[in-house]
Symmetry: D4
Subunit: 191 residues, 8 copies
């Protein structure tokens, strides 16, 4: 089976996806790519969809209503501007929905942030930072890891690597001094 | 009696409603009451509904999908916070949808304004001011008046009355002088 | 040839315009071009004007006062910064006025949005998103369609095309996988 | 008695007004009262008007167009929300127009501030702080004082009094100590 | 009795807590009470703690580091102003952390929202609305329900009740009409 | 040659300057250049200074204190960021001070706008739009014109030219149609 | 008695003040009282002054210029709105200046925060939170403690007390449970 | 060689550092470089570290806890986004902590500013402008100068140089006139 087939939404794949990564427009894909990559790194199965709350509302509704029966466990939804996608999916499923405000043109994602975050009592959306695709993927993994100790170990390992990268930079900065280090990273070095 | 007839709240019940006034929560009713009152004043038939995009998404969807076939012409939708109701209804009908951002607790309606106004290309919502229930009702009437010259005359008459009220205040202010006028309106006078 | 005919920019010049697209400065034309194009697509007659609330107030006033008698049905007005044009036209006609906040230099259109949206009770402006020229055109068409079933059918058809475009992108994304799809759209593909 | 004389609210009625204090709604009068009081204190003649850019646009236009020929020298205009009054008057006269953003309900006057301040090149409005009625009156006086040395002397005297009030408070604070002074002003003392 | 048992506040004290509800100050307790109540309703075990990122940093660190080994599954953290608590706990555990921005005095929770939401890549916080204690509790339950079908059924039931409440209000509004309904809810009725 | 004469930058050097154009940093000069140009166009004498409220406070104080005795009539002061220059000069003179908020790097001039506009009661600054150098120059001229009918005639003439430019664009747009006009201005045409 | 002695408000009057607490208006005194109280608690000598950047600029300048020679070590300056006081004092002394943005009426202190914080390169103001009088006093003490180990010990002791208060609340919350604790603090208990 | 010695970056390595310049990510180094350069200019010893509140929390904690015993006197901490670093260090030491909000991608540093500035009562952070690295360095020096008269003299000298630069620009502007000066600085001249 090819990796492309793995990503297919099929109900019959022998590893059905645990996470769906959906976006309101394919222009949001770049923001969500780090979520996809971190799920791949953790070997968490996922599907990726373009579903517009406003242009394909019925497809979005069907997706959200079927999500649980397809054995999805977590949904990541990214959108910009009015950004209704995460909240509307959340209204149609009891799966945890992670919302990613996409940076918008005029308002830099403040509109997206408000639309995704300020959900009414009863229907939460787990919102991450504006443009926070990576953290959406990590949060999905952390949620799955509440019942998957192997995945938790992978996340701990990932954290350890983040930590080590900062420690290495700290050591290099001490070694080179600030001016040389600045030159180093401006040349495309280890930052 | 059919369910459609039940929903009619207009003063002239044998006509089906032309305008629907919907709100995400009954706590929004106070904001929308001026819309209802101005429609009554103009004898525009209407129905009033509580439909939550997040708590009753399926009812909202059904309402929006049936709106055109029920001969509704304009939909006024008020909501606060994430405020997805106006935009989601707009995504499910081609009727003009007027959105009223309801003043919210923490963000004073800035969140509602962003969620309602910043719709993506393809699906407009005609947004009025935060808390602008009256203007939503007037805008609905102005839209209907594009093909109803009698209604247009009523709106012109209404405008004339607004104008006269300001002119009367202006004359009274000139007559009393600023200090006396201020005392006059602070006692609950003609302001 | 009468001056009215001169102003007609529609593809079907023997009909007087139903929609006026006015702007405070010709630097707003790019923002309003999608409104013009969608009206053309729907064969809605229109005229296009540069009328500054601040530099040509008398011309603006004359335009607004004559709009109804010229058989205009809807006015689209775009402006940036203090952006008084939509509200001032609205104060001088009972036709529905659609306001388009143009993205401004220092404040990204937040100033335009406030000036256009926050109209006082009595004088509504149907505001669309910052930079929302396309939606202004669509909203004008939706308003006209409240009494024009053929136009409504065209709008439904347009919506269906929007929907199909998203569905095609969704299918292509499923087929190619996220990484290949991202490469595809970065090369200028079907996004 | 001519209508112009009727409008004169100044303490010295045989002089035509030099300053007009206009407001979009009589609910703005409280904000503008300090402007009126300071003009009275300086014996600057003035008139006070309610003129709504949106509800009485034609009256506003007439006022602005006649302002110069009536020998007005400065116009103070206060408005809230969309707050088009100062800018529209400015577009119709070359007299200096001082704009006072009135604190609005939902947006605390941020909308008023943007609408009044962010005027396009060519048509300035001299904007003062949100709710800054007193400063509008003082600025009008300072403008008139550019050609009236007696008025300038009055303004200098007023400034000196402001200065002395602060110096007295400073001395009292030093004398009483901070705790006693705080009790003093909380009892309605000299603050 | 061990200290862990002491901290258990759940209705079923022989089970160790699955959720911790922590707050930066006991003045945040009112905001978090709806989270506590909904966890009780779902019989999800929990503990409640006051842990200040700034006043008791070492206690906060110890709590976060021990959270996983104590078999906690989800942490809800509420804080206002600089609001570092959710993000700092998230940096010290791989458990999912839900952040609740508490409405602050000067900035209405915009500061809290920014501090909690805008986490750097690598360390997500699942942020809910300003003052969104209820949704924090529900989100915690939805996360636990990804591996607990009985809990998921309870959440579905809860959603159904929310839905029914709105439907009942909608029916009552249709029955009473808008004016009577408004009077009804203003008298403390079913809203 | 006296130092005062040295400072005169006007085209007519034997007249002492009526207007001072001061800025907190020479990086603000570009923003203030349109003010300078419009004063030159109107043959209003002026001087231009760099005076930093924070780096040269004593020079700024001396300038402000001597302004009146040097026969200056109006001061234009531009500054960015904390932008204390306009307000501090205003505190040290009774001449009208026009403040120009310069667009700042991080906050786009919102900080400058707040610092210049939000002056306390007693000390007004006549604030113009962010980056509004041109309007500062025009407002200075309008203030001087309150006692100079020839200058007022020039300003009226300037306004007429602005009006004619818009009218010409309007006519050209009608003649060319929107698409051709857009091409025309994108090629650097008459916009 | 010299004027310097008069100004000393410290508990130990034979020492000259190390800290000055100045404010732009005596309405700011309530915000600064916690600074005064914490300096008293730490037996740091101080003086308290009302000095308005705009109403008493010359007094403010004199104060700032003499500060160093009077052996002041740190200046705390609180102001609201345009809030130029901290920055202007900072421009006239090399002593560290701590700025306290006072919550303003219309803009909640956002204007004060911008004016105090956004100082240009060369002239820092150490800004604390909006309304942060207590932290201004503590920061002054921490600065003095860089060369006063006894004062540092007092600050450490103060921190320890803050820590203990939170720990006691945490323990009481665990003991009482969340509901009882909430009742406890709502009755005016230990919060 | 001990690790403490390794960390010393000062020009005079046999002295332990008085100031630490820490940053949450090496991408903040460019913002902090002016702080480093001004400390070097004043021959204040310092060390530079990369310490992430979120990626290396334990290293950050250790650093903050040891800071005082290592004889550090002042800590400069720069961070962007959620920007918890300055506040968390401040919670773990009684040394004065200077916070530098780094300009962030989506929110331009408004998020950083809120997170750093809005600290709760008890734990101050001396915040400087967004991107204000230079002022952080100067403020650190001013704090050290409260007990180091030689350093104070250097700071006074630095201020004098700033003043002279502005005075020279002012003189050159007077000499060249505004247009020539603008050309001069646009060619990379003395600005």
């Amino acid at each position: 089976m090819t990796s492309t087939q793995t990503q297919v939404t099929s109900v019959d794949a022998d590893l059905s996806p645990l996470v769906a990564v959906v976006m309101g427009s394919d222009s949001d894909l770049q923001t969500l790519t780090p979520a996809i990559e971190v799920l791949e790194k953790f070997k968490v199965t996922f599907e990726v969809r373009v579903l517009s709350a406003h242009r394909t509302p019925l497809e979005m509704i069907q997706f959200a209503q079927e999500a649980e029966s397809k054995n999805l466990k977590v949904i990541i939804a990214g959108a910009g501007g009015a950004a209704h996608l995460p909240g509307m999916i959340a209204s149609l499923t009891t799966l945890p929905v992670i919302g990613v405000p996409v940076q918008s043109k005029a308002l830099s994602g403040i509109d997206s942030m408000h639309s995704i975050l300020q959900m009414p009592g009863g229907i939460p959306v787990a919102t991450v930072a504006i443009g926070g695709g990576l953290n959406a993927g990590l949060l999905a993994a952390q949620i799955l890891a509440t019942s998957d100790s192997e995945l938790r170990a992978q996340i701990s390992h990932y954290r350890q690597k983040l930590r080590n990268q900062v420690i290495e930079k700290d050591h290099l900065l001490i070694k080179l001094g600030a001016k040389n280090y600045l030159r180093h990273i401006q040349k495309g070095g280890q930052s």
